[in-house]
Amino acid sequence: MQSWIPLVPDSASTLSWKVDALYFYLSGVTLFFSLLISAVLIFFVIRYRRRTPYEIPRPIAGSHKLETLWTIIPFVIAMTMFGWGAQVYFQQYKPPANAIEVYVVGKQWMWKLQHATGQREINQLHIPVGRKIKLIMTSEDVIHDFFVPAFRTKMDVVPGKYTTMWFEATTPGTYHLFCAEYCGMNHSGMTGSIVVMEPREFDNWLSGNAASGTPASQGQQLFQSLGCASCHGQNGEGGRGPTLAGVFGKKTQLQTGESVTVDEGYVRESILNPQAKLVAGFGAIMPTFQGQVREDQLMQLVAFIKSLPAGGQTEAPPTTATPAPRQAASPTQNVK
């Protein structure tokens, strides 16, 4: 530990220094203006102190030039802050391509996570350095917020919808995970850690924590047991219900004439509220599954549908997200 008081938290992601740089710029401008105003105030207060009880200073008329000056200068400075902040914000929230996906469910007062390779974790997330990690998150109850100070990013975890965030860790270590949105009694206990590992160690960790199945394969079982296959086909090739294979990430035409991109949120909505956005050419025959599937099961169904290749071939869904993880050896769960 450092013996002095730190000014910035650990920096452990590709975004950290970008946010820090802007923070230092803002701090510099703030210090400069605060000290300038204070210095001028103190100087005036001493220089122009009242010396005799009845003195009356001569009035001074205002100056449009000065007013213009101290309107434009702060505006220009503010716009630099705005532009810089917006630029980094886009990077923070633009979901990257080919990231490792991790499913996150928040509930009072714990974090449940599942890797694409199937490993489940609670209040802890193991990730490798140098890989982009994308979290697909939802909540079972109230609004939570996934906050990792060392990565300088956070995102609300909202019930009823999926939110996403991403980061790429740069330095191995263990970092705080906080719930940043007040969520009730044990809010301050809804904490955990992000364990950042070298890729080799991470592969060891993955193989040391056998998964009972990937989210996609668990989703496939649900797909069968809930009876989805009877209308959407064994491999999502379609039937009385629209084709599911190969549609993910593409636009699909709706009954109303509008079109919608098939993303996690649309799939989730279509399971819970099938009538909301009907695909063109299909009737309103699907029953709702509201109350029958939990949030983590919904995510598994989403993962299954995502994994379906076009044409509905029976191809096993991918089980690994990092290159060549070794086969699972021990059945130990890493859940605390």
């Binding site: 008081i5 938290p9 946010v19 802007l22 923070y23 803002l26 401008v29 703030t30 203006f33 605060s34 105003i37 204070s38 105030l41 005036f44 207060v45 122009y48 102190r49 010396r51 009845y54 200073p57 009035p59 008329a61 205002g62 100056s63 449009h64 030039k65 000065l66 007013e67 101290w70 309107t71 505006f75 503010a78 802050m81 705005f82 902040g85 917006a86 980094v88 914000y89 990077q91 923070q92 929230y93 109850d141 109230v142 609004i143 906050f147 100070p149 300088r152 990013t153 609300d156 909202v158 019930p159 919808k161 705080h176 949105e181 007040y182 969520c183 009730g184 009694m185 206990g189 904490t191």
Partner: protein, 554 residues
């Protein structure tokens, strides 16, 4: 100084608004704006000390990282109730309902507000809201945070959400009534010669505040009502399990609650304009810029609510627009700070207590405003939102800004209100103690926030303890500093030196009538022939230094 024309009765009279009538009934049924101001003063002081007690409990809890002083459920109620009491029952009514009520008619040369009965009604409405809220606190309290975020507040919280909401709902109407009264009064009851650009800046800022009160407050009333519908009748509005949208609540809530920040700070800015001009005996530099910046803040203030939603998965493009507008709303505040500072140039500055608060306000508000830029800046806000940085920032605005202005104004007009002087030495001493205590409390929280300490945490990782110990030490000093004025104000009502009509020797209308004023304020209707803050005749107006040729005459 030019000779000041007084509007005192021809024969000196000992009758004033305080001793004109006696008995509880004469107070509870009064229609005199000055007496109603005192009713408000007593009530908000009561709520201020309750809110302060909660603050004390928060700081004691956070002294150690373990969360061992209060249970987490209790702690959640304590910070929620601290926020609700301080915001809705102290800060929002603080300056408008006390100093504003007392001074708006006096500063424009009117006998009362336009609707004296509505004015009294507003106090009863405030009281009813307050009593219901106190009932909710005693019955078991509320633990949703003052922000009432859904679906926690509508579905998951087992506390007195609806009762508290009802208190806030009712209280809002007192705000609306006050705002309505001020707007009509300022439009219709100015004394002859009191043109818009002769109005003291205190009036301009109250006009701007009133606009926000009547336009914004109905939205919080609607929001609280919808929340109660969902909680009681399970109508799906915000809870996704019922088909609602939880983020919708945040939009509605902040549509009022962000402008509400300006309800708190604009009147304080008005007070500071008075303090800076009057205690330096100088006309405000750029009067019209300061006046219009208040209106600009009131208008732009309604367009920035989305900056509270940067991390809710709101569209990044919406985020950009709200970020831009949030930077824009900072400009009028900056203009005010520069103009106040420029006013002091070649002036005659006294070090009386109100001026110390005025100068303290400029420094603290500068820090509070500039740290707001961090939160308006999208990328940095993603890291900082819901951390102690936010807590520190808004306390700099609400305590360093709004409360400092309120205390400064209370000292400044105390001789007029009570007819007595407060003890100047104690006044300066406590102003200093409060300034030091305040900074020690909240400066460390900026650092703790950037390091990642989330707000509303009952227990926290041990590396944040050093900042919390500093904060708690500062809060103890701050609390001690607050007790001093509470004691000497009460003391001075009986033992203070009697105040003259115009103890500070100022030209403002409120100083041209006895202290305390008679019920009708002025013995004869004043006719205003001077500009605001006219200490010296306009022909003496100086064209200064190197800016000389560019300066325009008044």
């Amino acid at each position: 100084m030019r000779p000041i024309e007084y509007y005192e009765p021809p024969v000196p009279s000992k009758v004033n608004y305080i001793n004109a009538q006696y008995g509880l009934k004469s107070w509870l049924l009064t229609k005199d704006h000055k007496r109603i101001a005192l009713l408000y003063l007593g009530s908000i002081t009561f709520f201020f000390f309750i809110g302060g007690l909660y603050a004390l409990m928060i700081r004691l809890e956070l002294l150690t990282p373990q969360g061992d002083f209060l249970q987490s459920a209790t702690y959640n109620k304590v910070f929620t109730q601290h926020g609700i009491i301080m915001i809705f029952f102290f800060l929002i009514p603080s300056i408008p309902a006390t100093l504003g009520n007392f001074l708006v008619p006096m500063m424009i040369g009117a006998k009362d507000l336009a609707f004296p009965r509505i004015n009294l009604l507003s106090w009863y409405v405030y009281l009813l809201g307050g009593v219901i809220t106190i009932y909710a606190l005693l019955a078991g309290g509320v633990d949703t945070g003052w922000t009432f975020y859904t679906p926690f507040s509508t579905t998951f919280s087992n506390s007195y959400v609806v009762a508290t909401g009802l208190g806030i709902f009712i209280n809002g109407f007192s705000s609306i009534l006050t705002g309505l009264n001020f707007i009509v009064t300022i439009h219709t009851m100015r004394a002859p010669g009191m043109t818009w650009f002769r109005l003291p800046l205190f009036i301009w800022s109250h006009y701007a505040t009133s606009l926000i009160m009547i336009l914004g407050t109905p939205v919080i009333a609607i929001t609280v009502l919808l929340l109660a519908f969902e909680r009681v009748a399970r109508v799906g509005i915000f809870d996704p399990a019922l088909g609602g949208d939880p983020i919708l609540f945040q939009h509605l809530f902040w549509f009022y609650s962000h402008p509400a920040v300006y309800i708190m700070v604009l009147p304080s800015m008005g007070v500071v304009s008075e303090l800076i001009a009057n205690f330096s005996r100088k006309n405000i530099f750029g009067y019209s810029f300061v006046a219009f910046s208040s209106l600009a803040i009131a208008v732009f203030g309604f367009l920035v609510w989305g900056h509270h939603l940067f991390v809710t998965s709101q569209s990044v493009y919406a985020g950009m627009i709200f970020s831009f507008l949030s930077f824009a709303v900072a400009i009028p505040s900056a203009i005010k700070v520069f103009n106040w500072t420029a006013t002091l140039y070649k002036s005659s500055i006294s070090y009386d207590t109100p001026m110390l608060y005025g100068l303290g306000f400029i420094g603290l508000f500068t820090v509070g405003g500039m740290t707001g830029l961090f939160l308006a800046s999208l990328a940095v806000d993603v890291h900082l939102s819901d951390t102690y940085f936010v807590v520190a920032h808004f306390h700099y605005i609400m305590v360093g800004g709004a409360l400092m202005g309120y205390l400064g104004g209370l000292h400044y007009w105390w001789p007029k209100i009570s007819g007595r002087m407060y003890p100047e030495g104690w006044g300066r001493f406590s102003a200093l103690v409060i300034f030091v205590g305040f900074n020690l409390t909240f400066l460390p929280q900026f650092v703790a926030g950037y390091l990642g300490m989330p707000r509303r945490y009952h227990a926290y990782p041990p590396e944040f303890q050093v900042f919390n110990v500093l904060s708690t030490a500062g809060a103890s000093i701050l609390g001690f500093g607050m007790l001093i004025p509470a004691i000497y104000f009460v003391w001075s009502m009986r033992y203070g030196k009697r105040a003259e009509a115009n103890p500070w020797h100022l030209p403002g209308l409120e100083w041209r009538t006895p202290s305390p004023p008679p019920t009708e304020n002025f013995a004869v209707t004043p006719i205003v022939t001077w500009e605001a803050y006219e200490f010296a005749p306009p022909e003496e107006t100086q064209v200064v230094g190197k800016f000389g040729p560019e300066l325009e005459q008044i």
